[in-house]
């Protein structure tokens, strides 16, 4: 096992910062390519007019998940050295709800707002300022919320271990759900398109 390279000391953290920058370029590049620099396209997901948020996110998750799993299987990557965050079930669920509400109201998430700023969207700048403000509020309230913040701590938990299923089986299930989801979404988009063009193509 020789990967992750940084964890095995192949380069120091200064180079790691350079790696961060380069990976960030790739990240931002693909986000913009997919149209994620546009708040209207992002919000359209939640009105069922454009499902690209679901398609891109789920495809990315499945790609990385499958790649990581197979690289680990052949003994290239030591999966135990890849960072796995602790699970705090309740705060993460509540935080997700709040973030989702903010997402559809503001039209961005932190990463996409950066891309939007890069392409000149002024509302993204306002959104980011709001983001700073929200984090500041959280920071100030943090000392009073520590009980909730650290509640339901399940440690390092992943889907296979929590549901006691074979890791590979979970991978298969996620892929099946993805394929089913994409098929449904494609069909749905076709139906919406037909409806909107008033049945011209019928």
């Amino acid at each position: 096992m020789i990967a992750p390279f940084f964890k095995f000391g192949y380069f120091n953290s200064e180079i790691g910062l350079l790696v961060a920058f380069i990976i960030g370029i790739g990240f931002g590049f693909f986000l913009e390519r997919g149209g994620f620099g546009s708040a209207r396209l992002l919000a359209a997901q939640f009105y069922f007019t454009d499902m690209r948020v679901f398609k891109v996110m789920f495809t990315a998750i499945v790609t990385a998940m499958v790649g990581l799993f197979y690289l680990s299987w052949i003994g290239f990557v030591d999966l135990s050295l890849v960072y796995l965050g602790d699970t705090y079930l309740l705060p993460q669920a509540v935080g997700g709800l709040i973030l989702g509400i903010g997402f559809v109201i503001g039209g961005y998430c932190p990463g996409t707002s950066g891309v939007a700023i890069a392409t000149g969207r002024l509302d993204a700048i306002v959104y980011s300022l709001g983001g700073f403000f929200g984090i500041f509020v959280f920071g100030e309230l943090f000392p009073y919320m520590t009980n909730f913040y650290y509640s339901t701590h399940l440690g390092k938990e992943n889907l296979p271990s929590f549901f006691d299923i074979n890791y590979g089986l979970v991978i298969l299930l996620v892929i099946l759900i993805a394929v089913a989801g994409f098929t449904a979404v494609e069909w749905g988009e076709k139906v919406m398109a037909k409806k909107r063009s008033g049945g011209e193509n019928a």
Partner: protein, 190 residues
Amino acid sequence: MSIKEWFSHHHEDNVKEHALYPKHYWNSYLVGMGLGLVLLSAFVIMGRGLGASGALSTVVAVSVNEVAPSHAKGNAFYEGYLGDGTQSPLKDWLVFEVLGLIVGGFISGAIAGRNKIAIEKGPNITKKKRFIFAFIGGSLMGFGAKMARGCTSGQGLTGGAMLNLGSWAFLLSVFAGAYATAYFVRRQWI
């Protein structure tokens, strides 16, 4: 259908209705695979995934520290982002990654001719209202992201690929919260 057609905006046909949308976005699945490979390279090279909200938090912590150092150092949340003083807190992996993200987004937009000063909003709302909504949305996002220990890039993509239990719960909540609220702010987008 040839591969060339598949790569083009075939699936974005329903988006053509909105005349302001530029064309030539890549196919969503292709973009997704590209993002997935970027994420995978982060896993393989650094042993960590992507993120974005952490960089914002670092900026907030550093700012608070500039204005009120003793207050910042006494707060466990800010302290976590300020480090132990041996090096500048801005020498942070996520900060550099977000800087790269901005550059990458700019490059992609420049190539496609999509870079222009504009305000993203639906046709039925004023600019002022849009800014107010953007600020409110951003604040909720910032608060929620810190509560959940991440945002859609970090917890969503990274945690999702690692099959992290909390991350999948987070993803479901994000979609639930967004869909639940969409009706109430539809005036802004549609």
